[in-house]
Subunit: 221 residues, 2 copies
DNA sequence: CACTGTGAATGCATTCACAGCG
DNA sequence: CGCTGTGAATGCATTCACAGTG
């Protein structure tokens, strides 16, 4: 199942492929066998053209006059996204409030992401088992990441130590990182980094509240 | 200080203005009085041109040959973003693991966001006080939002009920919403919506791991 | 005939590159 | 000279619009 990609898929489209895959699962559970780009788009707040364009990057799955077969498309997307069969191994750095919440989040497990490593700097937490994962000391992060072949690292540590913890993940062979700390991280080009900055999101919203500028078009469709 | 905007600021720039404001705070604490677009960009992983362009949307704060005065620029951005003086009133819907973590997150308070309302559907949670906020029953959400003049709503509820809870926020006059539920929400055009979909982020990363495609340029500068 | 798949057109964001100023 | 501020150029994403097809 190589499904090797013809041309590079736009970054923005990749995120939506994942949305489609999830929605198709829902549609299947509702017993829906075929879906048009228009209706799939409506369910997700996207235009039909965008749906078709996104899907066209990874193949030709539709039947003209009918739409897309839900199960076929879902299977294809799952394979392309790598959530078929295989499980992704995840490491969590920082088991505070947010980290614990992520450990407990069932949405990850459902989509094939499994926490295999969790570390914390606090000696009192080390040894505790949270959600089935034993908390190890921070200094063992890179070693454990390598040992458990961790694919994805999640950082919920204080921003002052975020860079050094990030470096440990990279040293342990981790090639994808989600950073919740409000800090800029430097990683080699081979590592993909995604920042989830909660305070920044709120501030951006506040800006629009302040100016009273809605600047959002009505939902498409 | 109206600082009424000349032209609409690109959405992408707004998020970065907030980044700049926070970094300027750090620089000030380090005793740095002036900063060039180049160095400010380096600290945040951005190019100098991008920094200058972003700032040019909201004014002319730099001194040629010197750079930007840290405190002046910080003050200007804080005013523009609405994090100066005023506090933003936030409501949380869903006090589960993630909701509790957000209530406890100090980064919000520091930037002027205050949780004034929290609701949960679980009767056992109603009445409890978490992080100084008393949990109310879900049915009172719109009433409480209006009473406390809530500006921003945060949803950490199961996706099945996300739309109806969202509707309650809108009914209560809330005009900005952050949605953590893996569901598409329909809101009127006057309401700004931001989705934080954790599983989708991981899947997008997994896609790139699968194809082995790094597709990230080396850090600029 | 209803739908896909896609060239072409548009719109938005980033980057270049440099005139202009302190 | 060093650095900002910004037109112009480029590159990326979205949308249009329709030929092609089961």
């Amino acid at each position: 199942m190589t499904s090797s990609l013809r041309r590079p898929i736009p970054e923005a489209s990749v995120e939506r492929l994942s949305l489609y895959a999830r929605e198709l699962g829902r549609l299947d559970r509702q017993g829906i066998g075929f879906i048009s780009s228009k209706r799939l788009g409506e369910a997700l707040g996207l235009t039909d053209a965008k749906v078709r364009r996104d899907l066209s990057y990874v193949g030709q799955f539709g039947k003209r006059g009918r739409g897309y077969e839900v199960l076929t498309l879902q299977g294809a997307l799952s394979r392309i996204l790598g959530i078929e069969g295989r499980a992704w191994s995840v490491a969590l750095a920082g088991v505070g409030n947010l980290g614990s919440a992520l450990l407990a989040y069932r949405g990850f497990q459902e989509r094939g992401f499994v926490f295999r490593v969790a570390v914390d700097a606090d000696q009192k937490k080390v040894g505790q088992v949270v959600q089935g994962v034993r908390i190890a000391p921070s200094r063992r992060l890179s070693e454990l990441a390598r040992q458990h072949e961790v694919h994805i690292g999640i950082l919920t540590v204080p921003s002052e130590v975020a860079q050094e913890v990030c470096d440990q993940l990279v040293a342990g062979g981790v090639r994808a990182i989600v950073n919740f700390a409000p800090a800029h991280l430097e990683v080699p080009p081979s590592v993909r980094l995604r920042n989830m900055d909660l305070a920044i999101e709120l501030e951006a919203l506040a800006f629009y509240l302040g100016t009273g500028r809605p600047s959002r078009r009505p939902a498409p469709g």
